[in-house]
């Protein structure tokens, strides 16, 4: 039993790794790389959010707030104060974790609409602070962020690097970094889900009352997962800031929070690989639809609506269900 669990957990991770290894063959130019790098960073954020939404069943409509905090912490620490990137990411993550814990404790007592309103407010407050503290954040016009430095290397998307003797371009280096980060994010999430904490979280989602009756400290686990998902967002926000080279308060905006939640719902709540697919689809659509000009927003809305109507469980769960049904039928026919 345990063996099978291990296998199923690692299988997904291996498929993902394989896709990430094969994908560069199909990437025609640096812009494609850039898109995939962004997808990976956003996907990793959403994997973190999914722990909260998909497994613990708690909603957060303010997650871009934590993402934005992480981005700005990194931007300010490296840009204004000359820190190097890794300490900035780590300290930023700790700071955001503490903030999430402080606000999370009281608001996670709320349920349903009240919880969504409270997380919404947290996101808004962060966005307002980033907008108004001009002296520190540059205000609504944003601020530049220096290139990512990794053990003394300046990782610029326009640079050229040599990795084990192979000459690679800046975007390829970033691609490798983003892929590794995504795999780590998924690996950690998968492990957490299968751990006692994960089981406790799922019991909270199933029924909070029942969970507390059997001795699960629901408040503790809910805050814990809230903090973990905020840390995911913070680290990814920091990476995103480095990659983009410029951030505006839009990274902490309500629209961005909604986009995160939409990725979770579209891809499939509670399915780690589903939400990655959700992130990929939602990042890809605006680029694919760019040629439709005025119709872009309409098409975007239509696709979302159709998916929600015909695939209410989300993309990946619906697809897997259909595929395995077909396969079972086929197997039945052959037998």
């Amino acid at each position: 039993m345990l063996n099978r669990f291990m296998q199923s957990r690692l299988r997904g991770l291996m498929v993902l790794a394989l896709i990430l290894i094969i994908l560069p063959v199909f990437l025609g130019n640096p812009f494609h790389y850039e898109l995939v790098i962004q997808m990976a960073i956003i996907a990793a954020t959403v994997v973190g959010l999914n722990l909260l939404v998909g497994f613990a069943g708690q909603i957060s409509l303010g997650h871009a707030g934590f993402f934005g905090l992480g981005a700005y912490f990194t931007g300010i620490a490296t840009g204004t104060y000359g820190w190097s990137s890794i300490p900035a990411l780590v300290v930023g993550a700790i700071a955001v974790g503490i903030i999430a814990w402080v606000v999370g404790r009281p608001i996670l007592r709320l349920k349903g609409h009240y919880l969504s309103m409270a997380t919404l407010a947290v996101g808004f407050i962060i966005a307002i602070i980033l907008n108004n503290e001009r002296a520190i954040t540059g205000g609504p016009d944003g601020m530049p962020v220096p290139a990512f430095d990794l053990f003394g290397w300046e990782l610029s998307t326009f640079g050229r690097y040599s990795l084990f003797g192979v000459d690679i371009s800046g975007v390829q280096a970033w691609y490798i970094l983003a892929s590794v980060v995504l795999l780590l994010a998924v690996w950690f999430a998968q492990n957490l889900i299968e751990s006692p904490i994960g089981r406790a979280l799922r019991s909270v989602k199933g029924s909070e009352v029942a969970a507390s009756v059997v001795g699960v400290d629901t408040a503790k686990y809910k805050s814990l997962v809230f903090v973990i998902s905020a840390i995911y967002a913070s680290v990814m926000g920091g990476l995103y800031a480095h990659f983009q080279g410029f951030i505006t308060p839009a990274v902490a905006s309500f629209e961005f929070s909604i986009l995160f939640i939409t990725m979770v719902v579209l891809g499939g709540m509670g399915s780690t690989f589903g939400v990655i697919l959700g992130a990929v689809v939602l990042k890809l659509l605006p680029q694919v639809l760019a040629d439709f000009q005025e119709l872009e927003t309409v098409m975007f809305g239509l696709i979302l609506m159709l998916t929600m109507i015909f695939m209410p469980k989300g993309l990946l769960p619906t697809i897997t269900a259909t595929v395995s049904k077909r396969m079972r039928k086929k197997a039945g026919g052959e037998a």
Partner: protein, 385 residues
Amino acid sequence: MLRTMMRRAGKCAAVAAAGLMMMSAQAAEPIKIGSFLSVTGPASFLGDPELKTLEMYVEKINEEGGVLGRPLELVHYDDVGNASSARNFASRLIRSDQVDIIVGGSTTGATMAAVPLIEQAQVPFISLAGAVVITNPVKKWVFKTPQTDRMAAERILTDMKDRGITKFGLISGTGGFGSSGRTQTLEVAEEMGMEVVADVTYSGSDTDMTAQLTNIRNTKGVEAVLNFGFGQGPAIVTRNYAQLGMELPFYQSHGVASDSFLELAGSSAEGLRLPASPLLVPDSLPEDDPQKEVVQNYKAEYEARWDSKVSTFGAYAYDGLMLAVRAIEEAGSTDPAAVRDALENIKGYVGVTGEFNMAPDDHNGLDADSFRILEVQNGEWKLIN
């Protein structure tokens, strides 16, 4: 097992790749002019006339034989007023479409988000956004066509001084435009030896600014009021100003210099002054004004083609495109470095916005005099000087 897994992975990769390939563009003979503008979304009033202008003049230039004997091709994306999509589309223009020059960036946020990337990619870029930070400090590859907010502040304060005003109250929006304008006004006021006796702000969603205006009215020694803002806010300030019966000279910024502002503010706008492009008053320009012909032609052509009123913002795109064309012609090729050098050396180009004299330390090329001071009289713009 392994085989199904591989097959599945392969399929996923193929689907993802197919998606990406749809976006590839083919290399071609024409000169590619890239553009990212806020055609939809909250800043559409900027991006829409800008795109129309670009489309129309690219067509016109191509009918007349193109540039260097090559046709122009406009590659355009809509950034919806969102800074991170502006950056992504700039990246797409540079890396995927491989454009020769970029003319775009409707808002300061969109422009600044794309600047680090453009500087690294070393592609000439002409921005259509206002704030002074875009070209100050000077960035090697970045130029811009609108006057800076600093020039607007200089122009307004000079006009105040001419009327004998030295102390004024400032009310500004907290958005990007308003807060940048506020900073510049405070700096210019200090340089010119004027005093800002009241300094209040409002946020973009406020629907009543009576409190702030009353505050200014009750300040001792205030001789005039200046409102720096964008969008709805200034129209509300103007209406509240009239409702309060304030008699002091009232100034608005160039951010509201459009006919739609007059419609919004109605009769309460009577008597207010603002710095604006000559485009609002093409026919009252004196005959010897070198801009008169350019301005009249642009207005006539735009209105004939699109059957809608011309706007100052479209004129920024006109000047941007014409500067780009001129630089490419002078460089004799589309080599980015040559085009950039040519842009930097453009002197005496008379555009709709003003006369451009670029220099290595001035990538805007305009001076404060390119703004005309207008006053609202009988519901219409009247040229003061």
